[in-house]
Symmetry: C2
Subunit: 347 residues, 2 copies
DNA sequence: CATTTCTACTGTATCGTTACAGATTGCATT
DNA sequence: AATGCAATCTGTAACGATACAGTAGAAATG
């Protein structure tokens, strides 16, 4: 089916329309294939004038190295694998991350391959697959746990990677994280400044590292600003309908909170529905603060106080980190934390 | 950097820990490499017992063909490229499509590579890149125009592909589309049944094929059910803030509509904001019908009448279509249109 | 018995690239 | 004149898989 560029047998005279290879350039310049290869990678044992000549011809022909050839010979895939959890997603969370990553990769030979999996299944599967088949030069994973087995495995096997979120078990690796502790702390502050004292927290699942960050920020916030917690027995991973129902029950109860901190944008929509179902109104009976990765909440209820997590930026940071790691940069230098921003929801 | 499996020089005794290749299996079975290769693809000239033996050893070793080897030799990449427009996206539209596609691909040797681009730039660029570098066996594109140059080019070059949306210029190719005409027609019906007669349409940009579908459905709807159009001079691609402002102005004007049909979920959020900014209320002063690809609108306003477009399903359909096309199935047989579903928003 | 035919298997070349071990040339050093 | 030594350039082999053109042996044919 595929038309392979077999031009002639002995002398190999390159035909016109085929995709150019090193051989084509070698033929046109009268040089050897090896010389052309080395010239294009600016090797020290090639003359300056020759390099120039080769580069010109290559550009002229629109030469692009054959990925399969390079990969077979060197093992370099020029692929970054993005492992995505398919069930976490209602909003444009992962799209934004993908676009952030590709912004960075667009200036490089790297391609981005999506490796999806369900986090109800074994989360090690996609990572093991990538390692066993050597199908990528670097990996990006999210939903990080304090002692994440994927992080351990990737480190152990020397596969460059970056994580969206941190670990907490003495593992050193590139990551980008949102400062959830600062977010939760500031969220409490905002609520207390509006006179709220009885605050509920819709937290992430406890197995994820940032559960602890959120908790700490929340609790020091309660302490620092003098407020108390109203327990909420559901987390951001629950189905939206469950969140709404549980919030509704809570809001109807005698000790309903007058403030809610919400750790995820999609969950905030369900929380809001629960509040309204209970006949309460934001801004009047209570206030809500939520993190969001896509600026949508204020379109729904301007009263929601929102902190923005820039996931696109996260994608950019992680892409840069993985590439730097591939290039041998120490992991310690490839860690970043972004601060919540509080766009004035005043409109 | 990469550890290539170079075991011994002459006799090539395979070592233990390396990734198995055909050579490994050949060594273990005592057969030739060619025989093993052919046995694994069930070629007719290999004995039944031999095939069985080879398969067992291969399974035992966890053999997976080296993609670079296959690709270099045969030109088959085992890659499906998904060309995504990075600016169209606020909701989880493309994520859902990606997940639908990967559901289908997970049972195959295909990987999914994301090729993003900005539709303000030349939309041919990513397609040309894929064609020129032969970096995929199949392509999926969206935002289709009636005489889409990408469709022309892909057809011309014999590259298998599927589109999300149809063309309208005598081009025959695999596609999956949502029945936007039916949607718009039914939308008008729903509004008229609620007693609405003066209806505005937030339509897609006119260069996209489904602009015409929406228009036709809308206009026959107006005619069939006896309603009139209130012009709305903005489309779904406009910034949300613009949509809101223009809708607000319209709703404040003397001839404000009493019904709105909206062709995109994210735009509906802005339309809703515009309505509220004008002090009008859904269900009382007017009704709105919107298409959505993620079930989010009813969390925002239960009063919005929503039609669901299952983008995940679209992803599945397109993935199946591309693969079928790669396998030589005629394009005519790979076209599908999905009907709008109207989930009872009554929860 | 010689020849053909079929079955089952195999060696070699090749895809495009790069690592490695030369090869050639000119020029300075002994 | 012989030697050493940079500076440049090049041929060969190999990565893993498969297309192609065989080969060996058994069975069928005349």
């Amino acid at each position: 089916m595929e038309n392979k560029g077999n031009f002639g047998n002995a002398a190999s005279t390159p035909a016109a329309r085929e995709r150019p290879t090193l051989k084509t350039i070698a033929f046109m310049t009268g040089l050897g294939v090896t010389t052309v290869s080395r010239a294009l990678k600016d090797a020290p044992d090639i003359g300056a004038e020759t390099k120039e000549r080769v580069r010109m011809v290559a550009r002229q022909l629109g030469y692009q190295p054959n990925r399969a050839g390079v990969r077979l010979r060197t093992g370099k895939t020029n692929v970054i694998a993005l492992v995505l959890s398919i069930d976490e997603e209602i909003m444009g969370f992962s799209s934004q991350m993908v676009f952030g990553i590709s912004e960075v990769l667009s200036g490089t030979p790297y391609h981005i391959v999506i490796t999806p999996h369900s986090h109800s299944k074994d989360p090690m599967l996609p990572v093991r697959y990538i390692l066993d088949t050597g199908s990528a030069d670097g990996v990006i994973i999210s939903r990080i746990e304090p002692d994440d087995p994927r992080v351990r495995l990737l480190s152990e096997r020397g596969m460059p990677f970056a994580t969206h979120g941190r670990t907490d078990a003495g593992l050193t690796h590139p990551f980008h994280d949102f400062d959830n502790e600062a977010f939760a702390h500031q969220a409490v502050e905002k609520l207390v400044k509006r006179g709220r004292r009885r605050i509920a927290l819709l937290q992430p699942p406890s197995k994820l590292t940032y559960y602890a960050h959120i908790r700490i920020g929340f609790q020091t916030g309660l302490h620092d600003y003098g407020a108390e917690e109203v327990p909420l027995r559901v987390n951001t991973d629950a189905p939206l309908a469950d969140i709404r129902d549980i919030v509704e029950v809570m809001m109807r109860s005698a000790n309903a909170p007058d403030g809610i901190v919400c750790s995820a944008g999609s969950a905030a929509i369900a929380v809001n529905a629960g509040i309204e179902a209970a006949g309460k109104a934001l801004g009047r009976d209570l206030d809500m603060v939520s993190k969001q990765s896509v600026p949508i909440l204020n379109w729904i209820r301007p009263e929601i106080i929102t902190a923005q997590e820039d996931v696109r930026q996260a994608g950019r940071e992680m892409a840069k980190a993985v590439i730097a790691r591939i290039d041998g940069v120490e992991p310690e230098l490839l860690q970043s934390v972004s601060q919540p921003t509080w766009p004035e929801s005043g409109r």
